[in-house]
Symmetry: C2
Subunit: 292 residues, 2 copies
């Protein structure tokens, strides 16, 4: 049964964060459930929204890959994922129906986070990238105030940074690409070669400069290829003390004062802390409600 | 004195290409002049347009860096360029006034070319990148049908590709970054280490695979970071026989079947041949005329 609040889901591979509120910047209730089978997870999510009195519209920021093409019959689906049972899951359709046929907004988790951080930003050139550096590495992009989909959606975790000279011995742990960015700088890649998370390694450990260099190369690539003004870096690895400052310093070295607008480049932590994704999901709900 | 035709300028560091026509896909007269001082060059361009009967609107695709922010008092200027005499030149303003106060459209040369190739494309996901690999390396981007400016404009020639193992001895010739993409794969960088252009080197010369690898890394970066569906590659180096096929093959190897939508990735030569930039400039003129 539809209700009066906005509903949001940050759909991840290990947990779903659920929230409701009268506006994206006002979360009045939230709940986290583990990601199990699609059937069990979506039923549990729908039951929680029903217990809140239902929602007027739902927004979902999802792990990928997802289908974002509104003209596709698979719009709102997770597509081919290695996560067992979740390939070709009709996330948006099933949840919209379970909640009484409410309008549903749908995008990647990182595009949702980028939208929310963009709303918090100084809107430099109307552009912002949101990177998450955690179990995996992903990126969302907002240009001219809208999330970028392109032919599908960005997967910037799979660019190839130049190898750091002090990191030559590690082959990378991306099962597809080996030493792409995710294979070098994600949480599991850090643990694979140093046996600890970046936060656990002493501040003078070489890992800090190495990981900062890889993330800085990604930021430089975004500055150079899309001319975003801001890169926001979230995720578990990004919470390592000092990391974002190291990334910003290294990115400035890589640019060497060349790029137009470079003096206005900003690399920062999320202003919304851990709430960028769920806030963005609620923004997708508000947009779906307005368009319904 | 305003006339009835659209006028276009592809403004380059060595030459200005001028054209007029009733529509962007119908060039009825064209003329090329050498790039001298701003005063001499702009006066010669304006005189040529006047001799064609004037124009109703002018579109300019310019070498950079340029100011694209409509809210800036420097909109339409070339900003700080190493090209002697051209820094802070009010290209759009001076030419618009010289032609009788006609509306002026203005963007980078590569964004203009991207717009024109986008109009020729199968519009995969509404997105296209145009790379020029010549004396320098630049890139334009169209997303959702519009050119991307971001905080200023893309300068993708200055990303850092991973070094090819057979090219370790070359330091790169970008005066700012050394071995960025432009420092490794531009025409002058090719001549600097092999003493000939890529077209002049035998097809079994290692340079072909090395240069294709660097350009393919750029394509992969665009596919991964912005999810463009098509990359169009123009410029003098790109005319080397076999190069674009090598780039496409290498980019597919780098993706390894991972990216969503990857089966629809296209890397191709410009459908408009050498006319992408000037056609895009006329499209900017048509847009300015419609908005006036």
């Amino acid at each position: 049964m539809p209700g009066h609040l906005l509903g949001g889901i940050e759909a991840g591979g290990t947990k779903f964060v659920l929230a409701v509120g009268p506006a994206p910047d006002c979360i009045t209730a939230r709940h986290t459930i583990p990601t199990r089978t699609p059937e069990a997870t979506l039923a549990e999510a729908a039951a929680w929204f029903a217990a809140q009195g239902g929602v007027a519209a739902l927004g979902i920021g999802s792990f990928g890959p997802v289908e974002l093409d509104r003209a596709s019959p698979q719009w709102g689906f997770i597509t081919a994922t290695p996560k067992a049972g979740w390939s070709h899951c009709d996330l948006a359709g099933a949840l919209g129906r379970a909640l009484g046929g409410v309008p549903v907004g749908f995008d990647t988790d990182v595009n949702a986070a980028a939208l929310a951080e963009y709303a918090q930003s100084d809107a430099r050139g109307g552009s912002l990238a949101y990177l998450t550096i955690g179990t995996g590495i992903g990126g969302g992009l907002v240009l001219d105030g809208r999330p970028v989909h392109g032919i599908a959606h960005p997967e910037i975790g799979h660019i190839y940074p130049r190898r750091h000279p002090d990191d030559a011995g590690f082959a990378g742990n991306c099962p597809v690409h080996g030493d792409c960015l995710e294979g070098l700088a994600s949480g599991p890649a850090i643990i694979a070669r140093w046996g600890a998370s970046l936060s656990e390694l002493l501040q003078d450990h070489a890992a800090h400069a190495i990981i900062a260099d890889y993330i800085a190369q990604c930021c430089h690539t975004l500055f150079a290829s899309v001319a975003v003004g801001e890169v926001v870096i979230g995720g578990g690895v990004a919470q390592t003390p000092g990391l974002i400052a190291r990334v910003a310093q290294r990115a400035a070295e890589l640019d060497a004062g060349y790029l137009p607008g470079g003096t206005r480049h900003t690399i920062r932590a999320p202003r919304l802390g851990l709430d960028s994704g769920i806030t963005g999901a609620l923004m997708l709900a508000a947009e779906a409600a307005a368009g319904a």
